[in-house]
């Protein structure tokens, strides 16, 4: 396949940045989207142009390191991560626009790379269960109902990629936050800190400049792990309860 790529190039955080157009030939259907970019980079290097910087690590859809707005969609046209997107989703002659996540709380570092450390700071503010090493009771001493454990697992599969934020017109991280609140809140071990957790995580979320949720739902459709929108209802419910009970 032959493609026209319009790629965001930006030397560093303070640079203005712009889209640059490249023609790329010899793309195979079997390549992943990032392998297509590898091919481009190999060619750029040979033409003495600095390769395009983009994040990836596991390349199997689990670490959450890869990102990219592809033709305006977070992680591109399929429900998956960019690293698992394959070129058979495109056709010969296509023009593809590739940009970084756009969100005030995710400043651009270089080209397609953004800084998502705000997510770590949200976790630092309550996104855990306090259990010092060595203090744990026998694992089966507290049974956890299976359906609740399943819901905890399903929401714990969030990979922290930030697509939800990038897709949201408000730049809200409510889906990410709701996923963690639901994961920990569904487990018996998560109960003691349940209400303080939701308050401190949300306070940090707002402090980082993520926007509020106005129920648009773009986040859930962009999420490669299909985190359901109802985690945001859970977030709101826990928040209300925390005001009443906490």
């Amino acid at each position: 396949m032959k493609l026209t790529l319009k790629i965001w190039r930006q030397a560093n955080a303070s640079d203005k940045g712009a889209l640059k157009t490249y023609e790329l030939d010899g793309v195979s259907q079997d390549m992943s989207f990032l392998e297509m970019l590898d091919l481009l980079n190999e060619q750029l290097l040979h033409n003495d142009e600095e390769p395009v910087a983009f994040d990836s690590d596991c390349r199997e859809g689990i670490c959450g390191m890869c990102s990219l707005m592809i033709n305006g969609e977070a992680h591109g046209p399929e429900v998956t991560t960019t690293c698992q997107l394959h070129m058979r989703s495109f056709k010969d002659g296509d023009t593809i626009t590739i940009e970084p996540w756009r969100a005030a709380s995710f400043p651009i570092v270089k080209d397609l790379i953004v800084d998502r450390s705000a997510f770590d700071r949200i976790i630092q503010n309550g996104g855990y269960i306090s259990a010092n090493t060595g203090s744990a009771p026998e694992a089966n001493s507290v049974p956890a109902p299976r359906d609740k454990a399943m819901r905890a697992f399903n929401t714990a599969t969030c990979i922290g990629c930030g697509a939800c934020v990038a897709a949201c017109p408000n730049g809200s991280a409510s889906l990410f936050l709701g996923a963690k609140i639901t994961h920990l809140g569904e487990l018996p071990q998560g109960q003691p800190e349940r209400y303080s957790r939701v308050q401190s995580m949300l306070a940090q979320h707002d402090h980082e400049g993520f926007g509020g949720c106005t129920n648009i739902g773009e986040c859930a459709s962009a999420c490669p792990k299909e985190i359901p929108l109802d985690v945001i209802s859970q977030l709101n419910k826990d928040l209300r309860n925390s005001m009443i009970l906490g």
């Binding site: 190999e42 670490c63 009771p137």
Partner: protein
């Protein structure tokens, strides 16, 4: 035999110190002194760890915040240690190359984690887990370490559950287990196909809690480029801030490396793109021994390579072998046919044929080698890929065998299979574009894990005082082969329970004399890194780092992969030496060193992979026996099975750096078993 060794009543050592008769690697190495004291305690095996914990000195809580510990790597092994040491009140600094600790490659582990909880009452015990691990490792691990691993395994599960790790549960709400990796008990805890992710998030969250508490300071997008040694003690690291390009020094009382495995020396592996050996290799060059570097695990069920563009390989969980039947066409002419059109009588279910007792469930190394041989014979399936032969000519092979779920779907129904493997089969379809419910899957072996790594004593201390190593980065408890679901166990055992106990004995002597940035040893390390970076930026040759890495991978895969022999290994060493020259004279890195520069990052990593590759080949050449994942074609039984030589090789090969152009120095640590009898594996 080490002086003062005690034996369990009724048990005598099953081997004596080895006397090596063969010397294939003569001329490639220098023989050094024996390593006689791995600091393993003696006495009854089940009491050793308790005894050691009691003997170890403690640090008064008030003194802990005066002690600084650097932990490089925040996967399971590093993240768990950071959380635990932070909770105890030490001053911890952590480093990782990703943008968040939550992304370490531990995240990718699918299958599960072992623990001898015996919840199923199927006869499991610490001793059985110990026994299976030593046997699975083909009697090439240190028994005291392995027993300790088994012993703390149950604490890991308790700890993880308390943190909110959502393990699979049964209808009564209790934890579920499955059997994994061909053992006879159900001791594997799992969170669907994402166990590593859930365990890592648990450790990550515990660590982030300590960041908030002020005991842990985390440095992300920071890559360690050297270790700082002052007065024979590890006292810090040199790291590059990958965003600004600044080269920084960080100083401490002790340094821990938890930097993961080096499978990417093969270029293609199931590791992450950034997985590397640099931290361990830099330490090696400064005096840390590298142990058993040639022990590599090649996993039989990965998605095959589709072409030269391939950047990494993806694992399909081993559990598929429970339901899938593995075959190739009997006749090479059928290899291009649609597999559904090949009648039953023209299919060769080769594992079932060669290993009737275990069939498709033979251990990983055996299944991998068998698949390779089928493809070497010309009966592989899938796309043809070009391979360069030893004589330089290029030949085409199909590198794939079928893993057929057809019979299982017929027997259990599509729904059952979907329920068991849904996310896995989706991933397969996404990558290959083929529907595994309709067309047999194609699989091929890929590099997955390394049992080799930095040599550590029982305390997890390397041969550099004050430098510790945990997780996959150390030479570990898995001997020559790791059992499924045991790496997660080891990473967390090291991180939560072992290191936090052993490092305190070392720190009890601290805080050590204050070292500052102007100390000559610090300046020297910093300057060394700076000049290396400058050198890489200034070569300005013709070849991309990527292309050199690929070439290294091809050499390693061809000659130091599933099937190794003296001639091939010598060829490889020659080729690698050439490649090293090529790299340092012809590599091309654009951009600047003072900003984010991914090619520079890769160049640093590949430079070390090249040196490691050579040592791996020398280690493989020296070990003229087949054991676990290491198969030397000169050492096989009449039926073509791996043949160990306990009389010659029952030792850990710990390599000391021999200088820039010098030969590596081999130190042997004899493996003496007092609690288990050595046997030859048989899966026929």
């Amino acid at each position: 035999m080490a002086a003062g060794t005690h034996y369990l009543p009724g048990l005598t050592p099953t081997n004596e110190a080895s006397v090596q008769k063969s010397d294939d690697a003569a001329g490639y190495y220098v023989l050094g002194d024996k390593l006689v004291d791995p600091k393993a305690p003696t006495g009854p095996i089940a009491e050793r760890w308790t005894t050691r914990k009691f003997e170890n000195r403690l640090v008064n809580p008030a003194n802990r915040r005066k002690l600084d510990v650097i932990i490089v790597g925040t996967g399971l092994a590093g993240g768990a240690a950071a959380a635990t040491l932070g909770e105890a009140g030490y001053n911890v600094k952590t480093f990782c190359y990703q943008d968040s600790p939550r992304r370490a490659h531990s995240i990718a582990a699918q299958g599960g984690i072992n623990a001898s909880k015996n919840y199923k009452s199927d006869g499991d015990s610490d001793y059985r887990l110990f026994y299976d691990t030593v046997k699975g490792g083909d009697y090439r691990s240190r028994e005291s370490n392995v027993y300790r691993l088994a012993e703390v395994s149950t604490n890991i599960i308790d700890q993880c559950v308390a943190q909110g790790v959502p393990f699979a549960r049964d209808y009564g709400g209790l934890l579920d287990n499955r059997s994994f990796g061909g053992v006879q008990v159900s001791r594997t805890f799992y969170a669907r196909g994402q166990t590593g992710q859930q365990l890592l998030l648990g450790a990550y969250q515990a660590m982030e809690r300590q960041v908030a508490a002020g005991t842990v300071e985390e440095f992300t997008r920071h890559e360690m480029l050297d270790v700082i040694i002052v007065d024979d003690r590890a006292r810090g690291i040199v790291a590059r801030n990958m965003v600004t390009g600044e080269i920084e020094t960080h100083l401490a009382d002790a340094v821990v490396l938890a930097t993961g495995g080096y499978g990417n020396v093969f270029y293609l592996s199931t590791n992450a793109m950034g997985s590397n050996v640099m931290a361990a290799w830099r330490a090696h060059r400064k005096g840390a021994y590298m142990a058993n570097p040639c022990y590599t695990q090649i996993h039989p069920t990965c998605i095959p390579v589709t072409g030269a563009h391939q950047s990494k390989l993806t694992l399909m969980s081993e559990s598929l072998r429970n339901d899938g039947r593995i075959w190739v066409p009997k006749n090479a002419e059928d290899c291009t046919k649609d597999p559904r059109d090949i009648p039953e009588e023209d299919r060769d279910y080769f594992l079932e044929r060669i290993y009737p007792a275990f069939g498709n469930l033979v251990p990983r190394d055996i299944a991998s080698r068998a698949a390779k041989y089928m493809c070497d014979e010309g009966r592989g399936v899938g796309p043809e890929v070009e391979e360069t032969q030893p004589d330089g000519s290029v030949k085409k092979f199909r590198r794939g065998v079928y893993l057929d779920l057809g019979a299982a779907i017929e027997r259990l129904g599509k729904d059952k299979i979907e329920e068991k493997y849904d996310n896995l089969l989706d991933m397969y379809e996404r990558i290959t574009g083929e529907n595994p419910y309709e067309v047999p899957m194609r699989i091929y072996p890929a590099v997955h894990y390394v049992m080799g790594g930095l040599w550590v004593d029982y305390e997890l201390q390397t041969s550099i005082t004050g430098l510790f190593c945990t997780g996959e980065a150390n030479f570990s408890d898995h001997g020559a082969n790791r059992l499924g679901a045991s790496a997660l166990m080891q990473g967390l055992a090291d991180g939560y329970f072992v290191l936090p106990n052993t490092i305190t004995d070392y720190l009890a002597d601290g805080p050590f004399d204050k070292v500052d940035e102007s100390h000559p040893a610090v300046v020297e390390a910093l300057d060394g890194v700076k000049s290396r970076v400058e050198k890489l930026m200034s070569i300005n040759g013709e070849r991309s780092v990527e292309s050199i890495h690929k070439e290294l991978g091809q050499i390693m895969w061809e000659y130091c992969g599933m099937d190794r022999n003296a001639e091939g290994l010598k060829t490889a060493i020659g080729l690698i030496r050439e490649l090293k020259k090529e790299f340092w004279t012809n590599v091309k890195v654009l951009g600047s060193a003072d900003s984010l520069n991914q090619d520079l990052e890769k160049a640093n990593r590949v430079a070390d992979f090249i040196e490691l590759g050579e040592l791996m080949c020398i280690d493989a050449l020296n070990r003229r026996e087949s054991c676990g994942g290491h198969f030397r074609s000169e050492s096989q039984t009449e039926e073509g099975e791996a043949l160990r030589h306990d009389d010659e090789f029952a030792y850990v090969a710990a390599w000391e750096f021999g200088g820039e152009d010098g030969a590596p120095i081999l130190h042997k640590e004899d493996l003496i078993y007092t609690a288990i009898e050595m046997k030859q594996r048989s899966y026929k």
